[in-house]
Symmetry: C2
Subunit: 443 residues, 2 copies
């Protein structure tokens, strides 16, 4: 199975996201046999997926091959395989075509979207967790503009020019901001049969302010900036129904309809199914989002050599749950790597503690909000910090200097070159306007 000796402890890492990758990196040089397993062959920089969805970046620019990242780490093997289940009692991971024994296991399989019990919404409103999701969103967004150009009926055209973003957290705010830049900036003047001023971008948030996990002053700055960009912000508004041509929302007890052909999902998140399977085996329960409670050292209760990190772990600190963001997963990954090192060397380790260096959300082309704890920033200074932090992480893995340049290029030219409508299922979309007419002509 491997070039390493058999007596070395076998450390298996499930998932090549921020958690798994940082665990792998912090195990560099350890006298152990490390195996990182992911069903994808690349690490994805998820915080920039909204840029792929809106045509600003290509998937290849925010993904790095796991093998390339870990190439120089002699104790680590990368396996590209589907993970089926874990048997914590026998210390075995079941893959789709084999099984793997472990001495230490790190489960970091992340989360996916969640449609609050409306699984049928998924086909109408794609989320933003994978490259395929982002390309699906990109296809829908640009196809909507193309269909509007061909549509002669004004009411139908307005439906194609209306976009709803569900969820006012960081992803929803970033997506709505990028949509506004796209419609009112990049695409202005490119269509003959309508003006992009007619485009409507709605952002729907259930609580009373955007970015509910941020301090209120930054929420209000984000809302003001989005409104200035042209986004219609609806707070205290719940999505109740989702149709092909319209969205029904409830605000202050009143039902309201928004005509829109394109709905983008940036709301619920649910831990990967492996969490529930693991909980069942360990005789415990997950929380409502499918996450597992863990000990102070992030191990599963009763299984001191099995660690759960990232979006799959429900960790509280100072009475508040840690958010499902990249820095938490990164710090947990690095912590678990150090803890396993300590265990192998029979040293004690301290409990995990998250050091919050700040929260950042970008709003359009040159504004952001930043909660750095000691100071709240907004506008261009916050945007500069946002760019710096994101590029720094990208470069850390893969020397993605190119993305910085691409970014600068897009910034100064307002161009979005990655606006491709791709996918084999183009024809139904191209037929959109026609089938619409047919349907309408029926009694």
């Amino acid at each position: 199975m491997s070039k390493h000796g058999l007596k070395r402890p076998r450390i298996v890492l499930l998932g090549g996201g921020f958690g798994g990758l940082y665990a792998a990196k912090s195990l560099r040089g350890v006298a152990a046999q490390v195996t990182l397993i992911d069903r994808r062959n690349f690490h994805l920089f998820q915080p920039l997926l909204y840029q792929v969805a809106t045509g600003g970046l290509s998937p290849g620019e925010i993904a790095s091959p796991l093998r390339a990242i870990l190439k120089c780490q002699a104790n680590t093997q990368v396996l590209n395989a589907e993970i089926l289940d874990v048997d914590p009692a026998r210390q075995i991971v079941h893959l789709i075509d084999s099984e793997l024994e472990y001495d230490y296991l790190v489960v970091a399989t992340g989360a996916s979207h969640h449609y609050f019990g409306h699984a049928e919404w998924e086909t109408l409103a794609p989320g933003l967790k994978s490259v395929e999701n982002a390309l699906d969103m990109r296809r829908r967004i640009f196809m909507a503009f193309e269909t509007a150009e061909r549509e002669s009926n004004l009411e139908n055209r307005n439906g194609w020019l209306s976009f709803v973003v569900v969820g006012g957290g960081p992803t929803g705010v970033e997506l709505a901001g990028a949509m506004a830049e796209l419609a009112y900036g990049t695409l202005r003047g490119e269509f003959d049969n309508f003006d992009t001023k007619d485009v409507r971008i709605h952002l729907i948030e259930g609580t009373d302010r955007l970015l509910p996990s941020y301090p209120p002053d930054l929420s209000h700055k984000a809302e003001a900036k989005l409104k200035k960009l042209g986004v219609k912000v609806h707070t205290r508004t719940m999505l109740t129904q989702l149709g092909e041509e319209e969205v029904t929302v409830k605000k202050d007890g009143r039902s309201e309809k928004i005509q829109a052909r394109t709905v983008l999902w940036a709301a619920g998140v649910e831990a990967s199914p492996l969490g529930r399977k693991l909980a069942e085996k360990a005789g415990m329960k997950t929380d409502r989002a499918g996450r597992l409670n863990v000990e102070a050292d992030l191990s599963l209760p009763g299984y001191p050599n099995l660690f759960v990190i990232g979006d799959l772990a429900a960790v509280e600190q100072d009475g508040k749950p840690l958010p499902g963001v990249a820095p938490v997963a990164m710090q947990q990954g690095a912590y678990v790597g150090r803890t396993i090192r300590d265990r192998i060397a029979h040293r004690n380790s301290k409990p995990f503690r998250y050091h919050n260096k700040g929260n950042l959300a970008v709003i359009g082309r040159n504004a952001a909000v930043a909660d750095l704890g000691f100071i709240h920033l907004s506008g261009f200074p916050a945007w500069l910090i946002w760019v710096f932090v994101h590029i720094r992480y990208l470069i850390e893995f893969d020397n993605k200097v190119m993305v910085l340049l691409q970014w600068a290029w897009n910034y100064f030219t307002r161009k979005r070159g990655a606006r491709l409508i791709t996918g084999e299922d183009l024809l139904p979309a191209l037929r959109g306007a026609a089938s619409e007419k047919e349907r309408r002509s029926r009694p």
Copy 2:
């Protein structure tokens, strides 16, 4: 339908490839109502698709939105629609959801692959004409390496590490060269269970030399360079059978089997189906590749206002057919644009004549062959010319300076960052090794 007056002549261009786009550009400023129709919303720089297939570039880097390219051309509208048929007698183009009258029509819908009557080969051996094709190839190539890493049976593993490129024209040569760079350069040292030295890359060509359309000395230089890179070159070899695990070829009358799980198609090409439809309506025949014979001004016989250009037109010059390459389509597009200008102004125009500035094919990282007519170049000088020519065209459309930088970056680092295995149908591929075992264990 448009912002332009009704008395202006209506010029319709079908296809946004090199032909259609150069026609559109040469119609800039003409007092006419120009409509460019394509089923895709982008122009694709097809000569670099092999780089997408081998993980060197992302699709967004070799595609430019048609709207962005033609944004500043006030007389031109871009329509993203499926073209169904043309009625040359009534001068109407049938789109999937509407129809369009024209005074002048330019048909430039290009070509697709052709499997010499073996349509069933398409699923086993993807071609390289669209972004989807290239991503399919990329998925198969990188999935083969990942499957080999998981495969413990040596014979099966060798099957996954064996690649066959069918067709020794420029595309096949470029693809085989890039595969060699990938396997023996980029991926070296990234796998634990095999050495990439075990990878086999076979290039199959039916005639007696590679690049049959080039002068023989360059063919031999290309073959020598590919062999030096590690490619097994098989000339005078015909593909006779294609299976999931092996390829059967015929050489000098003898049948031979090559074990290979991944076959890449770079052989036959066939004109788009619109050609045959048009031929039927015009009461003429296409040639074997589905192309239409045209007059000296590239118009369809009997229809002086209907022009056929690019891969859809069969044009002879000095007794030899013009090749289906980008420069021919570009010059034909520009010519037809000028000819329509002349017609509108009641001026005469000269017959079309192709000015061959040279043929180029790249072989791996820093070698190429160039036939510039007055001189034949190979090796690094030819490669420099190749880079210069390709980047020049990319920049012309969309200021793709970024691609130049990406290129330089890949060149110096030997990195290929766009190595993503994507697509919703990952699971069957991940199951590859398992189903293989199951199948083998059955009697």
